[in-house]
Amino acid sequence: MNNFGILRTIAWRNLWRNPKRTLITLIVVTVGLWSILAFSMLLNAWAESSRQNALGLLIGQGQIHAAGYMDDPNIDHLMPPPDGALRDVLDSDGVAHWVARLQLPGVVQSEYKTLPITILGVDPAGEREISLVPDKIVEGRYLNGLDDDAVIIGANLAKRLKTTLGRRIILMSTGADGYLEEYSFDIVGIFDADQGFEDSYVFTGRSLLQEYMGLDDEIAQISFVLPDESGLPAMIDTLKAAAPDLDIRDWKQVSVMAAAMNSAMKSIIYIWLGIMIIMMSIGIINTQLMAVFERTQEFGLIRAIGLKPRMVLWLVTLESALLMAVGMVLGVILAVLTYFGFQGGLDLSGFSRAMEAIGSGQVLYPQFAPADFVIYPVLIWVIGVLVALWPAYRAQKISPVEAMRHAT
């Protein structure tokens, strides 16, 4: 055994000289790491659920518009249905599903109220492949076909309009000729999504809307999903090459809100990480300073025997490193057990309103990110060892003569 070996033995045994103090610090470190990893898994689950919800309702993984539509989404910025090279790419194996929509700003009117909304003319068969809306019908039915002369609206919009299933509403928008067009529709279905979505969209058959607006077959947007989302950047490039004049964006560019939510989740994790690191640092410094203070005579003795000052620094640092390492291992084990415990999903249906408000599904599936299970423990361990250098430095400065004078 070299010097390091004997220091390791002494360090390890010293940790257990005051088991209560060591255990308290160990609990802080273990629970701290566990909470970071568990919180990270849960927030990632929430972020992913919110993202899937937002993307699944309407956005898809990417969208194609005519140039200028995103800045001014009206009837002047439409595009023809996809053909040629663009159609070939959309119909290829690289794209799982795509749908074409006519989306126009408009107004909805009931007997009691008039509200601004977005009118969506959709292909009901295609939407069933790509959108969650058909599955969210809570009253009545979804649309039947491209020329279905009916609308479905959100539950909250129906409430605000003081209307119900089976009643008629009037949709108004500017037609191709620049004049206001208005038509009345039967409400055949009510859907339930998040409140913002329910208030914003009214769905009808695409061909019918095109006809009412005086259009031929122009559309406002194509939404698509891929069989594997990791291929998205490459697919965006392929689509841009196939249709250089169109505005082709991935979901982050389409919905800045969804992207911002996603990065906000990361920020919350980092803030929590910071708080935990501060708490653990205080715990480590406190434990080690107390230990150093109590062992002044002992440090004096080993310095007198011939241990170099640097080795005393190592000894105390090693104790902190061991304590942190044990805490990291326990924290990771606890977090892994938590992951497997909730692998089948964390059912939060009891908080369904709150979950809806934050745009999340009612069952969260913890997201296991292996990198987090390495990066966070290593980061915390390194910081823990660094802050422990201060008590270690204090121990190193103890003079053997002063220490032994206290002893006698």
Binding site: I10, Q297, T408
Partner: protein
């Protein structure tokens, strides 16, 4: 005449400043020779511990010089002084003599480990040292499970196991009863007699002085008498 193992020349040590200054050592000249079994006696505050600290390279004098085997200590760095203590000096203190988390054997081995002695030799020498001081069979006990006398024996074994040039003991019997004191002094006398180990023992215990071959008396930081002179 043979070169002294330790020489102290014009040693002074002043604690504090101005009117509060205390002259713990006031011009001490002393030679310790190989094989000496010397007691350093005197009332409290006479400078015994301060002088032992100077000889043991634990503290630096305000003026004057200590040399060990011809090497002056004043020019050495802290790390070099640690090395010197490790290789040439054995210490026995009044209390806090042992590392509480290590067993008797590990405490003795500790010094050898710092000297990078191989595992097998280390174990053999440490075991032999514990046998030498009468602690055979107690190798695996922790200090807290042993009596004060047994703990001091471990300290003696640890001080000797590194084969130092000199063993310095400061009030080694202060916490021991008379029987244990007699046993410990007999042990140190035998090691001096049989193995030629040099001891300097700071004490004001007459039972300890009774064993010494050389008696140095200190008063007010000065050597009042030395039976070698």
């Amino acid at each position: 005449m043979m070169q002294a193992l330790v020489t102290c020349r014009g040693l002074t040590k002043v604690f504090g400043k101005g009117e509060l200054a205390v002259h713990a050592l006031d011009g001490v000249d002393l030679d310790i020779h190989r094989g000496d079994f010397a007691t350093l006696a005197g009332p409290s505050g006479s400078g015994k511990t301060t002088l032992l600290n100077m000889i043991g390279a634990l503290d630096k004098p305000t003026s004057g010089e200590v040399t060990i085997e011809g090497t002056p200590l004043s020019t050495m760095s802290k790390a070099a002084l640690s090395e010197l203590r490790l290789e040439k000096i054995g210490f026995i203190f009044q209390a806090y003599n042992l590392i509480p988390v290590l067993s008797a054997l590990e405490n003795v081995e500790f010094v050898l480990q710092l000297q990078h002695v191989g595992a097998a030799e280390r174990r053999e020498r440490a075991t032999a040292a514990l046998h030498e001081v009468g602690l055979a069979g107690m190798e695996s006990r922790r200090p807290s499970a042993m009596s004060g006398g047994q703990q001091q024996r471990i300290a003696v074994a640890r001080a000797l196991v590194s084969r130092p040039s000199i063993v310095l003991a400061d009030e080694p019997t202060a916490n021991l009863d008379s029987t244990t004191t007699a046993e410990l002094m007999e042990l140190m006398s035998r090691l001096n007699r049989d193995n030629g180990i040099t001891f300097v023992i700071g004490t004001h215990d007459p039972r300890v002085m009774a064993h010494s071959q050389r008696h140095i008396e200190m008063i007010d930081g000065k050597i009042e008498s030395d039976t070698n002179d």
